[in-house]
Amino acid sequence: MSTNTATSTNEEPVLNEEPILEAVHLRKEFPLHSLKLFRPSQAVHAVEDASLALRPGRATALVGESGSGKTTVARLLARLYTPTSGTIRYGQEMVKARGEVTLRAYRRHVQIVFQDPFSSLNSVHTVRYHLSRPLRIHGYAHNTAEETQLIMSLLERVNLTPAEQFMQKFPHQLSGGQRQRVAIARALAARPSVLLADEPVSMLDVSIRLDMLNLLLRLKEEENMALLFITHDLASARYFAEETLVMYAGQMVEGGPSDEVIQRPKHPYTQLLLSAAPDPDRFGSTVLQGDRKESSRVQSIVTVGGSGEPPSLINPPGGCRFHPRCPYAMPVCRQQFPPRTELGGGRWVNCYLYGAENKTDLTATTHANGRPSKEVE
């Protein structure tokens, strides 16, 4: 990622602080094992060229549909997968490819919270066991008394009180929200400086999601942690993160300050995502205007273009992987992945529409709700 400090009008300086965790040109392929001997070997190209930087005390949201590779990126950063190519840097150090000791040291700094709290906890162990493992492994607790004290404080930090009671419980005795809190406490036990949260709220009930997000925000502030927040929901990305990155089919297509990206999306895919997101405001505003009546509701759904589904990642389309669904696709989009265009203020987009040779600004003809209008075609 470029480190030019572009000055923005109203945003606080985005790129001043040194990134604590940086990934450069990460790529991950999962080979497919075929029984046919002479067939060329195939692979799922899950992540193609992902670069990102996480800074202390800041949250970065990674947004995309399922299959866009966002979870793979988190797992690469947590070193649960080894990247096919590309580098990960923690602080000033390159993260080495192998070695259990190095990895353990790395995981003291970088922890992950998984999506599904129902399968990320071991059902035969108590909460106490789950939290004691990282404390012992990373050498924070040397005896039972210390361990108890640390576990109590961890449980209190994630609002699981009374802590003495929760310590003895098994996962099946906890609700989904409580389990996710245990999973967060377990990640915090290692006192990480980077927390990777892989859709931490998508499996939880609506009424407790916000509570969980607020908890993560509070912990981020208290610990000055760098946070990667993976989600498919643009609205919570805006609520939660200072910076938002958008992924499509393994490629990063757009990034920048969250409000900028979500209020004024540049890449056609971000615009599509935004127009598809449920948004009662959109309906409410059309009613308030009073110019469109009952049909406005149907209309708001019907006029969104760009239907279709994400491509197969075994034989992804060449060039920009969004081109088969893109209303603005040009011949060059089919041949080559567009280079990153810096738009100033920390904004960037990988799209030929904004390249040096093509200065069409889509936002000029984009509706307030991010739906590209037809005139551009």
Partner: protein, 369 residues
């Protein structure tokens, strides 16, 4: 004898209660729920997991299996053509809960069909979709020829936006969105009056979800069926539903038109839900959400089940169960033409006897900083 269609009402649910019997105590999954559905209406049923919304829908379709028992209530279905006979009452209504197996078989799918949450599990993986669609057609219409069924299957797929060359595909060859479309096509096969959709788009991505909803709205305009749309995503319902009922711990706590619910949420839980999802536009508020977690249905708190999480709870909430009552329509909009319920809420804040001071000006303060 055929009598004229008296009202616009399609389905009337009266005081429905469903229990699950278990050794660790009875779970009252649905508790005294009443509402009516108009023809062509999209009725949204929103609630968290365990609020009883799916149980309620399955009870309407009589899909519940023991240990679930309908302990009380009536489901009245008003067919378009009223044949007064042994199955119907004097006003032409069919008592769905009293149908015998043969009548039930005729009622299901022809009058009421259902789209399940997980299309992968609802479709048979070893049969192609052609077989599964024509199976429905021929089971309900034994005289239909093979070619007739085939051409209807092609037509149905076209309706939901799937090319006819996918007719002989197996479920695993289709994407999640397409499977859900096939489910909708099967639900439409016999032109039912009413479709129950149980979280039809929950497992799908936003873009695909939007496509399918768009299709659904189009089909609803063309065929004029009613939909009960069950989801936990209130923001989605606010875009598509005509009337929305909010369920909490087995009861409907608030019911009203979409606009009314969005502008004037009356129940603190509804207000909390509305303030639980961040918005895409406007200033970024700091949201607090609803404190606590949903209750265990085996031990629902006494009084109003929501009171332990409610910022406005007072003494009466802890002892008296609030019933769903219409509220004064001050600031509320007139219910849509053709009848329908006005806004109803089950909350003591609106009971002049229990809360003489009247409801607070705004419920928002509890959820927004």
């Amino acid at each position: 004898m055929i009598t004229e269609v008296r009202t616009n009402t399609l389905l009337e649910i009266k005081h429905m209660s469903v229990d699950y019997d278990s050794t660790r105590g009875t779970v009252h999954a649905v508790n005294d729920v009443s509402f009516t559905i108009e023809r062509g209406q999209i009725f949204g049923l929103a609630g968290e997991s365990g609020s009883g919304k799916s149980t309620l829908a399955y009870a309407l379709a009589r899909l519940l299996q023991p240990p679930a028992v309908v302990t009380r209530g009536q489901v009245l279905y008003y067919p378009r053509e009223r044949e007064v006979g042994e199955t119907t009452r004097d006003d032409g209504a069919v008592d769905v809960l009293a149908l015998n197996p043969a009548q039930l078989r005729a009622f299901r799918w022809r009058e009421l069909s259902i789209v399940f949450q997980s299309a992968m599990n609802a479709l048979n993986p070893v049969l192609d979709i052609n077989t599964q669609i024509t199976d429905v057609l021929r089971a309900h219409n034994p005289l239909m020829t093979a070619t007739g069924a085939h051409s209807r299957a092609v037509e149905l797929l076209k309706l939901v936006g799937i090319a006819s060359d996918r007719l002989h595909s197996y479920p695993h060859e289709l994407s999640g969105g397409m499977r859900q479309r096939v489910m909708i096509a099967i639900a439409l096969a016999l032109n039912p009056e009413m479709i129950i959709m149980d979280e039809p788009t929950t497992a799908l991505d936003v873009v695909v979800q939007r496509d399918i909803l768009m299709q659904l709205m189009r089909l609803r305009n063309d065929f004029d069926f009613s939909v009960i749309f069950i989801t936990h995503d209130l923001s989605l319902l606010l875009e598509i539903a005509d009337t929305i009922a909010i369920m909490y711990a087995g009861r409907i706590v608030e019911m009203g038109t979409r606009n009314d619910l969005l502008r004037h949420p009356r129940h603190p839980y509804t207000s909390g839900l509305l303030h639980s999802f961040p918005t895409l536009h406007g200033p970024r508020h700091s949201l607090t959400g609803i404190a606590g977690s949903p209750p265990d249905l085996r031990s629902v708190p006494p009084g109003c089940a929501f009171h332990p999480r409610c910022a406005f709870a007072f003494a009466a909430c802890r002892t008296i169960v609030p019933s769903l009552l219409p509220v004064a329509s001050e600031g509320a909009e007139v219910p849509p033409a053709g009848g329908g319920q006005g806004t109803c809420v089950a909350c003591h804040l609106y009971d002049a006897k229990l809360n003489p001071e009247g409801p607070p000006e705004s419920l928002e303060s509890a959820y927004v900083n």
